[in-house]
Symmetry: C2
Subunit: 446 residues, 2 copies
């Protein structure tokens, strides 16, 4: 019986077979000169922009990737040759990484991470790199969209661990949603590992196990007088609220944290519940809602003036339900100083080592231009060297700082970029010099 956990010891094998078979040929043929690969996102109608996340985990992988004797043995059994296995035994990632910082906004077609490394190295890390970046970007973007929908006024917490796609997705969702401006997570391990506030209420099973709703509330509130959020919809929401208030009164509590609604017409119920809470003098008690929450639902609630103070956002956040995958790519753009590009239909890549230049006007985002790396264009360059010769060469910011940056960045976007449900398509410009490289390559291929 085995679980199949991925960890520091076996992560080097978490790769597609073809990365290794190709690398074996590269080694055999001495094709080990410097390659540059771009990681970028292709346009989608569902998102105007993305919030970048996941870089720290990528850098951790690149600094620590190592093939163990057990890995080598397995690959030997699968037919890999000794010269290649010897290479893998001593494998280290020795390249440079140019990346957009976490918490920065990115647009389609912009390089988010550029890898500059000997071809076999850059190839071997491909699969893990995409795997490590995609999901955090999806979730951080979904999270900040929930915040945009709630006008940054709602308390948002990640309740998604149970419905995340496996253990690692649960961890990444907690971290990425925190970057996207969430206040905390229900995931205890993520709280410990990333130093994120952990939060929670109570489950229906708690109430059912007591058979008697009032008794259940009383038991919970007695244990956590400062911290109780009553889940009031197990049988009937308004009756549930009344039972919660009975428990509060019986315990002589002057205040309590709030109530959670998890089913039914949340707009209607929240209005009724707010009225009763206010009438009974519990003006500070918050109303938290959960159950199929996402940015569209939050927007709807705001439009209908639902007096909901915060949300537990679960499933739809962690699986990014309306866009469960990014059309993202990791493409070779230069080998041995020579730019390259692919011409498959609708899948054109931008050649060469590049830089993204971001311009602002009156404090608001104006436009991005993708140019050649050594161009001197107007605007703030987004790609920074974050790893040199396989070692991280910057001070990585704390999660708090990344979150702060993310919120600031989003607030610099003009209004039309923030219209949830009516996304505009924005694709950055391409510099004249980069266009020339593309044209030249098109000529060559004819």
């Amino acid at each position: 019986m085995r679980f199949g956990f991925v960890n520091e010891k076996n992560m080097a094998l978490l790769t597609d077979l073809y990365e290794l078979t190709m690398a074996q040929v590269y080694l055999k043929e001495n094709r080990t000169k410097t390659a540059i690969f771009d990681f970028y996102i292709r346009p989608t109608k569902k998102r105007t922009f993305f919030l970048n996340a996941g870089l720290e985990q990528l850098l951790y992988y690149l600094e620590n990737i190592k093939f163990t004797d057990e890995d080598i043995q397995y690959l030997k059994e699968k037919g890999f040759e000794d010269f290649f296995l010897d290479y893998l035994k001593n494998f280290k990632f020795t390249g440079n990484i140019y990346a957009v910082e976490e918490g920065e906004i990115v647009f389609p077609n912009e390089p988010i991470v550029q890898v500059e490394a000997p071809l076999p190295e850059a190839q071997i890390i491909e699969t893990f790199l995409i795997n490590t970046l995609q999901h955090p970007i999806l979730v951080a973007t979904k999270a900040i969209r929930c915040n945009i929908a709630g006008d940054f006024k709602k308390i948002l917490v990640d309740f998604g661990l149970r419905r995340a796609h496996g253990t690692d997705a649960g961890m990444k969702a907690a971290r990425a949603s925190y970057i996207g401006g969430f206040a905390g997570t229900s995931n205890v391990l993520a709280g410990k590992e990333y130093n994120i506030p952990i939060v929670g209420t109570m489950a229906h099973s708690f109430i059912l196990s007591y058979f008697d709703e009032e008794k259940a509330f009383e038991a919970f509130a007695k244990q956590y007088p400062e911290n109780t959020i009553f889940l009031i919809d197990t049988f009937d929401t308004i009756k549930g609220l009344k039972n919660a208030l009975k428990a509060v009164k019986k315990l002589n509590m002057k205040s309590f944290k709030g109530v959670r609604l998890d089913s039914g017409d949340l707009v209607k119920l929240s209005k009724e519940v707010r009225k009763i809470l206010d009438e009974e003098g519990y003006k500070d008690a918050k109303i938290i809602a959960s159950g199929s929450i996402d940015e569209y639902k939050i927007k709807e609630h705001i439009e209908k003036n639902a007096p909901i103070d915060g949300y537990g956002v679960g499933t739809k956040l962690v699986v990014s339900s309306d866009l469960p995958y990014l059309d993202c790519a990791y493409k070779l753009v230069e080998y041995d100083g020579r730019p390259v590009m692919k011409f498959s239909p609708h899948k054109i890549t931008l050649p060469s080592k590049k830089q993204v230049f971001r311009q602002f006007e009156n404090g608001k985002f104006k436009e991005d231009t993708v140019g050649l790396y050594d161009e001197n264009l107007e605007g703030k360059p987004l790609l920074k060297k974050v790893m040199e010769n396989g070692k991280v060469c910057i001070n990585l910011p704390t999660l708090e700082k990344i979150k702060e940056k993310a919120i600031n960045n989003v607030k610099k976007l003009p209004k039309q970029f923030l219209n949830i449900g009516n996304e505009i398509e924005y694709i950055p410009s391409i510099s004249e010099n980069l266009k020339k490289v593309v044209e030249k390559l098109k000529e060559e291929i004819k």
Copy 2:
């Protein structure tokens, strides 16, 4: 800098905070009698049935869950009390598990896993249990649907690791898709951990790094004469095929494994490619397609007679793109011998310890009835005791056996259950005795 991997040592903390806060109250109040919880899936219009998977990983977790000193220290800092931390120090799962086997078909509302354990234990394991089961069921179901669409005649392989939601999802997708009848995976670590065949072709970057398509093909085929599948769409698919054939001829190869198409009109291109391959005498060379493949696409290709022999199925498989989450639940159904149920709108649970009875007619599936566990109804009982007092009490089948069973099971479904794109809604019957329990509880709650 940290990654945040989940492993045997820290998995006990991979839980929602409220499981622990509730458990602390249970302990304080001596509510430690036996509870029964059901894991089941609520109906959806997108699936008629589900293929069960993930049980082995759940059992691994239950046998090995343990809170370390570091975990206890963290929880102490978060305010948990000493009596509860002492309990966690000695925590072991001591309950019984009744479960449907992996590779078995399950329908909405049927208990797939029933946990029978002291209430705090059954509560603490909730989050991990749902996390461990949901994604494998999603992917195994998607995989077998791809096989149904391809009439079990296509070679299907999992290419999804890069787009899976994190590392664990990549591992689970490989295992679950194998259960769903796939032939192998590109995921090398999954190959090693689960003993699944590993497969792969070549990437566009390989060809681009050579600048010259023919040279790239030649280099690859020289290294893997028996095993080369040429990726022919980097520039132009038909020119690519011709370049592949030039390389094959130059190397005097009598045969080669095949070609892969990854873009463009796959129906049209596969027909052109097949014609050329046959004319040139390479009748054994297979055509493999990839790029946005799922069961709907495979069905369309079959209807249009595309001569595609196999598929690399990636993103849409591993994120289960048309249904990226299950509306699944883990609900208390009995405490201390007393049945319980929830009455939230549209979210009614079935009380009591239950059994699922499956009837067949002329070798085909006829119907399922959900009844009480000790009822003696017609049909094969689906739930088996797989864990007793915290120890696995069955011989776990190999993945090969599970896959074999899955395919046999699906072939026993009547045709109307297998109509991809026109799913029927099937919900099992409820026995008279179980109905009586429900009615009685409804009366009590009034």
